[in-house]
């Protein structure tokens, strides 16, 4: 006779929200699989602090090898009311991870009747990155996220980035990920040194600098999309939660930057 308790009787005993594993890599393969390049990849995303929190911007391009697969990709995604994830790398894997995190954070909060701590959320993300490592080593499903959040107790925005094994780093001022990120690393430092730190800038100034950086990434990286046809995507996270930067404001700032180029 079964003596499982009521909860087990209702919900069974398999994990409710299992960590998504990418397609099992072939243990015999040592070199990247020739087909890996045809999967869709997201390109450049940027996070910078500003006086009220954090701004995330991303281009809209998704590529597969040398083909532009999609020019309306959304790579800055809200996970919950105070967490933003900006994604780069394998599009399929990032979307699955975003879905996993959304469900997992909500499930924790609903079942435990308290929100998951920031540290808990950061570890959860590290776990999914680590779970994808074997496949990523063979060129399948590698992705790197930037996590931005607003710390309501300290009253400040925070930015975290990861390496492929799931190591977590906190950045004081800014972070970037994706194919165009290496090309613009030095520009962040130049801006911070010449214009003052990002976290002291007002929203519009920081947004303008972030868009400048994105434009430079598009110039220097073949895969990153410019904004001649589709506007980039920008979101802010502050004490009031997550907000989209309205399109008219983006249109104004991007044309201003384009004009400066002459």
């Amino acid at each position: 006779m079964s003596h499982r308790d009521l909860r087990a009787l209702i919900s069974g005993e398999t994990p409710v929200i299992p960590i998504p594993e990418p397609a099992a890599p072939n243990p015999a393969a040592t070199a990247p699989h020739p087909s890996h390049g045809s999967a869709v990849h997201g390109t450049t995303v940027i996070a910078v602090k500003y006086a009220g929190g954090v701004i995330n911007v991303g281009d809209r391009r998704a590529t597969a090898n040398y083909a532009v697969m999609y020019d309306r990709a959304e790579k800055v995604l809200p996970i919950d009311d105070y967490t933003l994830l900006a994604i780069s790398g394998s599009y399929a894997r990032s979307m699955e991870v975003v879905r996993y995190l959304r469900h997992s954070f909500r499930y924790f909060e609903r079942s435990q009747l308290q929100p998951m701590s920031l540290d808990g959320k950061l570890s959860e993300l590290a776990k999914v990155i680590a779970a994808g490592l074997p496949a990523a080593m063979q060129g399948i499903g590698g992705f790197l996220p930037l996590l931005s959040t607003y710390d309501r107790t300290a009253g400040e925005g925070r930015i975290f980035f990861y390496d492929v094994m799931g190591a977590r780093f906190e950045s004081g001022e800014f972070a970037a990920a994706g194919s165009g990120s290496m090309q613009i690393r030095g520009v962040f430092n130049y801006i911070a040194r010449t214009r003052g730190p990002f976290h002291t800038m007002d929203r519009r100034t920081a947004l303008r600098e972030a868009l400048f950086l994105l434009d430079i990434a598009a110039d220097l990286d073949a895969a990153t999309g410019g904004w001649s046809k589709v506007l980039p995507l920008a979101k802010t996270i502050s004490a009031e939660g997550i907000e989209d930067v309205p399109e008219p404001e983006l249109a104004e700032l991007t044309s201003e930057i384009t004009e400066l180029e002459g």
């Binding site: 006779m1 003596h3 308790d5 009521l6 909860r7 087990a8 009787l9 209702i10 919900s11 069974g12 398999t14 409710v16 929200i17 809200p78 919950d80 009311d81 879905r99 996993y100 469900h103 909500r106 499930y107 609903r110 079942s111 009747l113 939660g241 997550i242």
Partner: protein, 270 residues
């Protein structure tokens, strides 16, 4: 010794008595559709009573605390698993209650070697428009019933009937806004509470309808307890639809309702 049909009936009826006794004095719960969304209103003492199950599903129950928790956690698990593996759009209260919770409760209820669950639960499901809102009341024996725009949950059928009548008297058939829905729900709560505490069901018909009696019942209760309202918002400006209303919003509504000289919007006038 043989287990006869008589024994079976006797055992079932004893289990029913046992469960009904446990439900008898649970604080009634009211579910109402309103323009802003779908609200569940109750009065609590120590334990929180209104919970989010999923994006569009809200829950409250009366009965044994650990059974209320077991059903809550089971439902949260099921909804989360289905929503993750398929889609949040596929998680419905109908599937949850009809195909999973009800059979599980039935299995426990008929198992003579286990104590029956003591629970009567209310699930609310938010639709895109108010006409699509649904309420499900689930009983300890697995029986369940669907309702459309409002629902009452209490320890006796008489109390639930009276509560629905009070709701109807306050709101008619119209769709109220949130504050009116809360007001009407609190009157219904008081009706239920009065009916549950009556010694005899027959001689106090008028008491449960008298607005002054309802308000004084609320006043008395709220000395040591507090109003709890959970809502699923139809058009939220955040990621989540569910929230518990803050006392800053509730207090003025409650104060107006239980004020001694509140005469303007009483039932006698409506």
């Amino acid at each position: 010794m043989a287990f006869t049909p008589f024994d079976f009936n006797e055992a079932v009826s004893q289990r029913r008595d046992h469960a009904n006794e446990g439900l008898r004095f649970g604080s009634p719960v009211v579910g109402v559709s309103c323009t802003e969304g779908l609200a569940i209103v109750t009065i609590r003492r120590s334990q929180r009573k209104v919970f989010e199950i999923y994006d569009r599903i809200i829950y409250s129950a009366i009965g044994n605390q650990s059974d209320i928790e077991a059903i809550r956690l089971g439902a949260v698990d099921l909804a989360a698993r289905e929503g993750f593996q398929r889609s949040p759009d596929d998680v419905t209260a109908q599937r949850l209650v009809g195909f999973s919770l009800s059979p599980a409760l039935k299995e426990i209820f008929r198992d003579q070697w286990r104590a029956p669950s003591i629970i009567r639960a209310l699930f609310g499901e938010l639709g895109d428009v108010a006409e699509q809102d649904r309420f499900y009341i689930l009983n300890y024996d697995g029986e369940f019933a669907a309702h459309t725009d409002r629902a009452a949950l209490a320890g006796s059928a008489a109390a639930e009937d009276r509560m629905l009548e009070t709701l109807h008297a306050s709101m008619g058939d119209s769709l109220p806004d949130l504050s009116h829905a809360i007001e009407a729900a609190l009157r219904a709560w008081a009706t239920g509470s009065i009916v549950l505490n009556e010694r005899h069901d027959d001689d106090s018909d008028s008491a449960a309808y008298d607005d002054r009696a309802l308000r004084s019942r609320l006043r008395e209760e709220l000395r040591s307890a507090r109003v709890e309202v959970g809502i699923l918002e139809r058009a939220p400006n955040r990621e989540a639809r569910f929230r518990l209303l803050e006392s800053a919003y509730l207090d003025p509504i409650v104060a107006l309702l239980i004020e001694d000289n509140a005469a303007g919007n009483g039932l006698e006038q409506s």
